[in-house]
Symmetry: C2
Subunit: 715 residues, 2 copies
């Protein structure tokens, strides 16, 4: 069932209603009345006759009028019985505030399961449990008990009540913005992040979606919805729980697993979500993106009334990858006419006192600068909004006039202005005016610059978005019957890992250029195989009981002569038996020795939140010591395979350094894609490792391949 | 002359005094009167009789009373005549506000030089020019014209008037802190950063020194003063101007790889300065360090009334390298007694509603946590200070009581508490109380955690500081006469670069293990030298006109037989002539071929602000592609040589990876020290490059050495 009728409920029963002022069962009813909720309120409490002048019911089923939504404020163990009652009544949705479910270990998980089953049975959609509630500011359905939440166009979706309170407080104190909805998703027992996202995407009152996430249950569905949402409106997201302590803290808090943060970040950004790293920037980014046009240019001008702020802003924007180009000659000469001779006009523009007695000059400069086709947006840094405080009270009126001018510029034009003012919190009318026009004002240079950068990031995403066909969440790659045989054969023989030659065979079925490896069981056989290969060979032990072949002395490389092969064969056999006398040895694999080239590693694993993911990195030192790797959610497109390679810091090595020829990047990208396809085709695979793969000037060699199956294979 | 009498002037002449309200010559006098300046004020303006009730003088020399200080607000070109007049009068110091000096090109530089000469002649110490002024809040000597600057114990030293205004505004709006002094250093024409620093170090009213720096003239003296200061009181510094400085130098080879801002940061940190990267953190760091005891432990506890804030704080602290250890069993069981069963007590401590009706529980928890010997400091995150707003007004009183308790804990104990509150700007009495006790309160989780990290950083610096003998600014390494000969010989022959064999000889004089290279002029000679070396050799062209030997085909390696040497000799000669027919060729250097090992690069160059600096990095890909290098100001100690090696990300490679033996790190550290000594001993050297140096399992090989001299050698 759609969640529309739940989030826009026209009547609500408060189960656990109370007369005690500090109780949620009281506060909610009071707020619903105060806020003039646009629907019916039914307090439910068998012990009370009436609460705050409203008739109090003994149970939900006693209510005669239709009940869209139940807010349940009673403890965890009471929920099943209440849901049964709600079911009888035909309630459409319920918000369960109580904790004590999935976040509290196995007993809680059982209870949560029971509650979800009951809800499904009665077609009741659940928000929570373990949530701070929800808030629909369009019809004043305030189930959070918070007073004076500002109305506006930002939808807020969080996994922490305190973070919601933080963001709402910030909106109230520092902006003129507000919210359309707030939902505390809690444990996501029924309604998941992606369903809320879908709803907000279609909600005409919502211009931007602001999210605080610790972990999510249905990562892949979320990505798919996010991809469809960000084309229509910006989604701003902070994912916490990166650190081990953070993860633990998040785990005890929401019950969700705070997944691999690199994977999450990469996956979110790929769908056009604006990922925020610092919670200070979360609300400002949403304020900016819901107020100003995104800019498709990567160029910004700085207008300053002092050198220090301009210097710091230049540093910050440069760090963010934004250019501060010299303004055109025409722009510069126009600015010169307006400003004193000491002014610096190339960019940053420093007015050098040119605004001290007339802050309206800011607006005039802004107008000139924004007309410059080189410039995508403008940041004004310094004292604007405080000239009346700093210099002379009479200047306040001029500032207000300038604010009107700038506001209209932004409203009518397509280029954003963001203001830094050290009088940001002074509450001057000029700054309030700017905010009303949608020009955000911050007292932090850092946040000012970061906000400009999110406009650039979002603008550039939108610019590229139309060229994309669709977000790939399934390419439809099919398993080959021979491949299924390999896997089934492995399972039947009681192994959970494919032998190297099996793994390579599977890869070959999908087009991977694997070497002509052949297993041998005697030294004679090994010699014969080796003779059939042109050049030197490698011998490797085949045993399900020896996973780390090198450690067991089970690998010999660079074998040229018959004698070498024979000797190596016997040696490996002996080493393997010494290493693990009980090991079941299948034989020894003979492979041609790979040519020289650059070593890379490709790996896949299965993430709890996002399912299969793929990792790439340059082999050896780069991965082991510098952790220089990139991740993507599978399946990947050829575009993202290319980006995976390019975004590692060590990628220039593939282009050939110190006299080495460039490597065959195309073959590498093809192999990444192929790995993604194989993983998609065989859901039985838990993880796969190609390590190393050697990339040559032309082609590549998969030196070793390892595939591990899931304990209980799907499909 | 000491600047004490200038910064603590007991009388001040305002030259350029005015009756116009918007003029600085008016505002300053008004503020001096309003603020009740503890000395005499003498307006100087030939056109006025009196200003604001004070007698106005035609010139300084007309004043009969002694004049300690002159504030000069007139334009640049008037300054020389005014200084002459001040000199006659015996004025001790002057603040020159006007711009139009060194910052404006050669003409301005000339004028600045003239002004400095005049000042020296008359023993007048200058603040500025091109400054916003200075402020002594102890005697209300307010020469900035700013009103209502809060008094306190932070000395402020900046190169930007707007940044000063920003910091002063922040102090006023967001803290209960204030300032002892403010100085805008301007162009540092006379008094430099380090002299102010020295003064503030000795000032009993100053507890912390807060600096905004764009660039400094006397970097080395500053470092020396900083080293002596940070043991007594914290110095907090933001250095801006990274972007332009960094990028320009990045083009050339070794020394410039990461730009000079790396040098500045490293140099500052080495002297115990707390270097801040984000201007939002600048004032909070000073507030914290001037209020709370630094902590010598790297362990912090988090106390939260909500999971979201705790999770974010955990992530932030972990990113900052701070541990969040599990509290002792004793601590945990005491907390359990106090808190509801749903509370999480390991660390972060989540009260799980346990404070909702009694915020005093925060103080009780804090007391228990701070007693845990594992814990160095406490961060409280969430709603404290706003319980009266969020829950019930009656809780305000309880919060105030809790604030008193926590304040006393910090005052009497040795462990810091920092508070995050989303009601930070709500102005509640509880939060004001905390601030009065010296517990900072921030609405930003990021800043809260950063502030705790500066206490950790400073505490750890102090802990290590007593083991240091002294800050090395000169080790007294002397030049050898043979070394001086090599350099003089080079200069005499009109070269500015030593030949490779000369450079190696110079290094050898100071103990470097260089190979027995010998120059040859004929193939026969080369063969003969090669025969005397055990093993393969390398031939390299010797020519002052060929700097990049490899590019010119001037290098041949791995030569074993006589035939190979002979052929290589002829080939190199031919290549060199083809490359540059006009090149003066001195011969060909014969060197033994270096054994295998790990390549590193050592470089030195001369920085405008800090003089000679040294760079180290792993050779090849690590430097060229990953820019993985470290910098130090010369001379370095063996301790910092070791740190230079260890702090590169690739340093584990030296310990032996993938079956390679570990490298001789001791030899490498010795060589770094030796390079530092050589540069110190020969001030004629502009830059030196040892590239590559190959580090073996035992010992190392300096494969190539390049030394370039200064255009006009000193000494």
């Amino acid at each position: 069932m759609s969640i529309e009728r739940v989030l826009n409920a026209r009547s609500v029963a408060v189960i656990g209603a109370s007369k005690i002022e500090t109780k949620r069962g009281f506060q909610t009813i009071r707020t619903l009345i105060e806020d003039k909720y646009d629907g019916d309120i039914f307090p439910v409490n068998p012990k009370e006759k009436s609460i705050l002048g409203l008739k109090c019911y003994r149970s939900v089923s006693e209510i005669k009028e239709p009940v869209d939504m139940a807010l349940i404020v009673t403890p965890a163990q009471t929920i099943p019985a209440i849901l049964e009652d709600c079911g009888k009544k035909g309630v459409l949705g319920a918000v369960i505030l109580a904790g004590g479910f999935g976040e509290l270990g196995s007993e809680g998980k059982e209870l949560e399961k029971k509650v979800v089953t009951l809800a499904k049975k009665h077609s009741i959609r659940l928000i929570g449990p373990n949530t701070s509630g929800m808030l629909n500011l369009k019809c004043n359905l305030n189930l959070v008990g918070l007073r004076n939440v500002p109305k506006g166009d930002i939808a807020l979706l969080t996994q922490s009540g305190n973070m919601a309170l933080t963001l709402i407080t910030e909106a109230t104190v520092k902006s003129k913005k507000g919210f359309s909805y707030y939902v505390g998703v809690g444990n996501e027992a029924d309604i998941n992040f992606h369903e809320y996202l879908e709803f907000f995407r279609e909600d005409p009152a919502t211009k931007a979606i602001l999210m605080y996430v610790e972990g999510m249950r249905q990562g892949r569905q979320f990505l798919e919805q996010a991809y469809q949402t960000t084309i229509k409106k910006p989604v701003i997201l902070l994912k916490s729980g990166r650190s081990s302590t953070g993860k633990k803290s998040a785990g005890s808090h929401t019950g969700a697993l705070a997944g691999m943060s690199e994977v999450a970040k990469g996956a979110f950004e790929r769908t056009g979500i604006i990922v925020i790293e610092n919670s200070d920037e979360l609300f400002p980014a949403a304020e900016t993106l819901s107020s100003l046009p995104p800019t498709r240019k990567n160029t910004v001008a700085i207008l300053a009334d002092g050198g220090g702020h301009a210097t710091i802003a230049s540093d910050l924007l440069t760090d963010l990858g934004i250019e501060i180009p010299e303004l055109s000659e025409k722009t510069q000469s126009k600015l010169k006419e307006l400003l004193p001779s000491a002014a610096s006009v190339p960019n940053p523009v420093d007015v050098a006192g040119g605004t001290d007695s007339n802050p309206a000059v800011f607006a005039e400069c802004a107008k000139i600068i924004l007309k410059d086709p080189k410039i995508g947006g403008l940041i004004i840094v310094g004292l604007f909004g405080g000239y009346g405080i700093r210099f002379a009270e009479s200047l306040s009126v001029i500032e207000e006039d300038a604010a009107h001018m700038m506001g209209k510029m932004v409203r009518n034009g397509k280029k954003p202005i963001i203001l830094h003012s050290l009088y940001s919190s002074a509450g001057t009318h000029a700054l309030d005016l700017l905010r009303h026009y949608g020009i955000p004002v911050y007292d932090s240079l850092d946040i000012t610059c970061k906000c400009m950068s999110v406009l650039v990031k979002y603008g550039n995403y939108l610019k590229a978005a139309h060229t994309k066909t669709s977000y790939i969440i399934k390419t439809g790659e099919k398993a080959k019957s021979a491949g299924i045989d390999i896997i089934q054969n492995c399972i039947k023989s009681g192994r959970n890992a494919l032998f190297e030659f099996e793994a390579k065979k599977l890869l070959k079925l999908h087009g991977a250029p694997v070497s002509k490896d052949r297993p041998s069981t005697t030294a004679d056989e090994a010699v014969k195989i080796a003779e059939g290969m042109n050049g030197k060979v490698v011998l490797k032990i085949i045993s399900q009981d020896i996973l780390h072949k090198s450690d067991a002395g089970g690998v010999r490389v660079g074998l040229g002569s018959e004698k070498e092969v024979r000797y190596a064969f016997e040696e490996i056999m002996k080493n393997a038996r010494d290493y693990n006398p009980a090991a079941k040895i299948e034989g020894i694999l003979v492979s041609p020795m790979a040519a020289k080239g650059v070593e890379v590693i490709i790996g896949t694993k299965t993430d709890d939140q996002f399912g299969p993911v793929i990792m790439y990195g340059l082999g050896g030192i780069m991965v082991e010591i510098l952790k220089d790797v990139s991740f993507r959610v599978i399946p990947i497109s050829s575009h993202s395979a290319k980006k995976m390679v390019d975004e590692t810091k060590s990628s220039p090595i593939l282009d050939g350094v110190r006299g080495e020829p460039p490597c065959d990047k195309k073959a590498l990208i093809k192999l990444l894609l192929l790995c993604s396809e194989v993983i998609e085709a065989y859901p039985e695979i838990e993880e796969m490792d190609l390590n190393p793969v050697i990339i040559h000037e032309k082609g590549l060699s998969i030196v070793d391949a390892r595939i591990i199956l899931k304990d209980k294979p799907e499909g």
